[in-house]
């Protein structure tokens, strides 16, 4: 499927470069707003790789701009700045940009807006898109459950939003599946990017006995600390192999490039429409980084099998029976969670200690 898609995009690219050679239209301007620096080697870095892919793909037909390290509380100014300076398509790449994106979009009906990880599309010029990162969490949870010796997995969480809670639950369920004794300790840091704080949180978790660290923050600090302290970790949003050659077990890699290219193409073709995209391992928006070669072969095989099962839909991250933390039934035997419930997830599943902050 992916192969077929790259073939069609390649064909589209050929058609485009042919037409670009004759037409002297103004280039389409595409803007990006990032929550962290492009050098975070995680979330924002990966979005910027997508932007670079757009530049590479379209050449002179497209002009791109980005604004990095835009605080979520102050995003409206940055988004408006891009809208006012003649951008045709604007990608806003953090959950906290949801309200400002929709507000600016209402004022600029001719500009197309794409908001990552959100769910509000108030006007027809707003689309939302995200990866099914929780699918990758199933793979990570499986590996973590197998590898842990202390049976304590540490999880560094950013903000208590459904996407993050979903990741925690998916990881825990997958780890529990292979290791019934596993316990998960969650630390909320209330930031997407703060290497020092993420490092401190990692140390606190290790101090409490965690020997595998999972993170839902954007910097490479947790993996670096894991490497230094001799415990395990995972690459988050990007592969991060360089930051913990021994500690890194695998990674979740966000691949935005095909989506960014397709949406830019839609604007050029005039076929852009408001839509909601939520792609997982199958479509390649969420992909799984290489497994640490130091892992025993059977764990690597198991992880690969899980990856394939999730990608092909044979296994769903949330398959019943699953109870909520308070013991009430959430999913009956064999039942899988629907997307709507997943998008609004605000509870822990049974077995996770602590409460979701509100």
């Amino acid at each position: 499927m992916t192969f077929l898609k790259s073939l069609t995009t390649a064909a589209a690219a050929l058609a485009l470069s042919a037409s670009a050679a004759f037409a002297q239209d103004d280039p389409v301007k595409v803007g990006f707003i990032y929550v962290g620096p492009i050098g975070d080697y995680g979330w924002s870095y990966q979005h910027d790789q997508g932007r670079l892919a757009v530049e590479e793909h379209f050449g002179d037909a497209v002009e791109t701009t980005f604004i990095e390290s835009v605080p979520e509380g102050d995003a409206e100014r940055a988004i408006r700045q891009l809208a006012q300076s003649g951008h045709d398509l604007i990608f806003t790449t953090s959950f906290g940009y949801m309200t400002p994106t929709n507000r600016v979009a209402a004022q600029f009906p001719d500009v197309k807006f794409e908001h990552a990880t959100g769910y509000q599309r108030n006007t027809p010029n707003v689309s939302t898109y995200s990866g099914r990162f929780y699918e990758g969490r199933v793979v990570q949870g499986t590996i973590a459950g197998r590898v842990t010796e202390s049976n304590v997995i540490g999880y560094i969480a950013s903000f208590p939003i459904p996407e993050v809670i979903r990741g925690i639950n998916a990881s825990y369920l997958a780890a529990k599946e292979v290791n019934p004794d596993v316990e998960m300790k969650v630390v909320w840091v209330y930031t997407w990017f703060d290497p020092a704080k993420e490092a401190d949180a990692t140390n606190a978790l290790i101090e409490q006995g965690a020997d595998v660290i999972m993170q839902h923050t954007d910097s490479t600090a947790p993996l670096t600390i894991a490497e230094e302290q001799g415990v395990y970790g995972f690459g988050q949003a990007s592969d991060m192999l360089d930051f913990g050659p021994t500690a890194r077990l695998s990674s979740i890699i966000d691949d935005w490039a095909p989506y960014y290219i397709a949406r830019t193409q839609a604007v050029i073709d005039g076929t852009w429409e408001s839509q909601d995209t939520w792609h997982g391992i199958d479509e390649g928006m969420t992909s799984i980084g290489s497994f640490n070669p130091a892992l025993p072969a059977e764990i690597r095989k198991e992880a690969l099998d899980v990856t394939i099962a999730v990608a092909t839909g044979k296994r769903h991250a949330f398959t019943g029976p699953i109870n909520k933390q308070d013991g009430s039934v959430w999913l009956a035997e064999g039942e899988t969670a629907d997307d709507l419930t997943l998008l609004g997830m605000d509870f822990y599943v049974e077995g996770i200690e602590g409460a979701v902050p509100n």
Partner: protein
């Protein structure tokens, strides 16, 4: 929970704050408000990292971090002291400049590991129960930071040089009339502030996180600025403030890891709330001198006046 481990990690977490806030304190005591602490710290972080990685010596790393911080603070110094630009605007510009320049300098340095900074005391001491972990288990930079703050206290309160620096900060016109080179003294104070901010930044990239990451200071420079106000310009209270601010963060992370149910959002807020409260008390008090704020803070000095 283990309070010993908590206090030990608190001291490490507070070290960049101690350094940067002490440096800023000297600059402000001379009457200069430099809001560019964040920028100088991040320059220190990358210069220190480059220095340490290239030579393999953390000592050299810290020295280059301090030099980098001092050097970049001189752009602020020259602009505000020689060309009389607005200190607030120039300081903010310095922060933006530092963040950008450090990203440029650091392009080749992501994913590398710095050489580790040695523990100062032998393991005989650091293995002592309780005291060992809290007092003797740290790297030498932790003690250097505390010594520097002590030296600054001595300089400000016990030396003639400190008296002159404070005079410049209280009334630059009077100091000028007495024949003191106001601009030169302020430039020196700014450079010292830059060097210490640079050291604090280098501590982040060499010890606390150990890696180079763009924008890795993530607002710590602003907390250092708040601590100076919180400490009402007294070096001893800077240490207290840094431990309190750093401690709250460490405490809430550890409590969470232990599974204690606490409203973390509020706990994360407390340092900022404390600063606001201190600011309110300070501004409501007519007798500002009692709170130690330098009277000429942020004012432009022009010798021909």
């Amino acid at each position: 929970m283990d309070p010993v481990a908590l206090i030990a990690s608190l001291i490490v977490a507070a070290t960049p704050l101690v350094l940067a806030a002490t440096g800023e304190l000297i600059a402000e005591k001379s009457g200069v408000l430099n809001l560019g602490v964040e920028g100088m710290m991040i320059i220190g972080a990358i210069c220190g990292f480059i220095g340490a990685v290239t030579t393999g010596s953390p000592v050299f790393g810290f020295i280059s971090g301090a030099l980098g911080g001092a050097l970049v603070s001189m752009t602020f110094g020259v602009l505000t002291q020689v060309f009389l630009s607005n200190q607030v605007a120039t300081g903010l510009a310095l922060t933006l400049f530092g963040l950008g320049l450090s990203a440029l300098l650091g392009q080749q340095y992501t994913g590398l590991r710095p050489p580790s900074t040695d523990q100062l005391f032998p393991t005989v001491l650091s293995d002592l129960p309780v005291i060992g972990r809290i007092v003797f288990s740290h790297d030498w930079m932790v003690y250097t930071a505390l010594l520097l703050t002590g030296a600054v206290w001595w300089f400000l309160n016990k030396s003639r040089g400190g008296l002159i620096l404070r005079a410049v900060g209280e009334s630059h016109v009077a100091a000028h009339a007495l024949g003191y080179p106001v601009v030169l003294i302020r430039l020196a104070a700014i450079a010292f502030g830059g060097a210490l901010a640079g050291l604090g930044g280098a501590y982040l990239s060499l010890v606390r996180v150990p890696q180079w990451n763009e924008g890795m200071t993530a607002g710590i420079g602003w907390i250092a600025l708040a601590i100076v106000v919180f400490a009402s310009w007294k070096p001893g209270r800077v240490i207290l403030g840094a431990w309190l601010f750093g401690g709250v963060t460490i405490l809430q992370l550890n409590l969470q890891a232990m599974g204690v149910n606490i409203p973390t959002a509020y706990l994360s807020m407390t340092p900022y709330l404390m600063t606001i409260i201190v600011l309110v008390i300070m501004s409501s008090d007519r007798n500002r001198a009692a709170l130690n704020a330098p009277a000429s803070l942020g004012r432009v000095f022009h010798a021909s006046g």
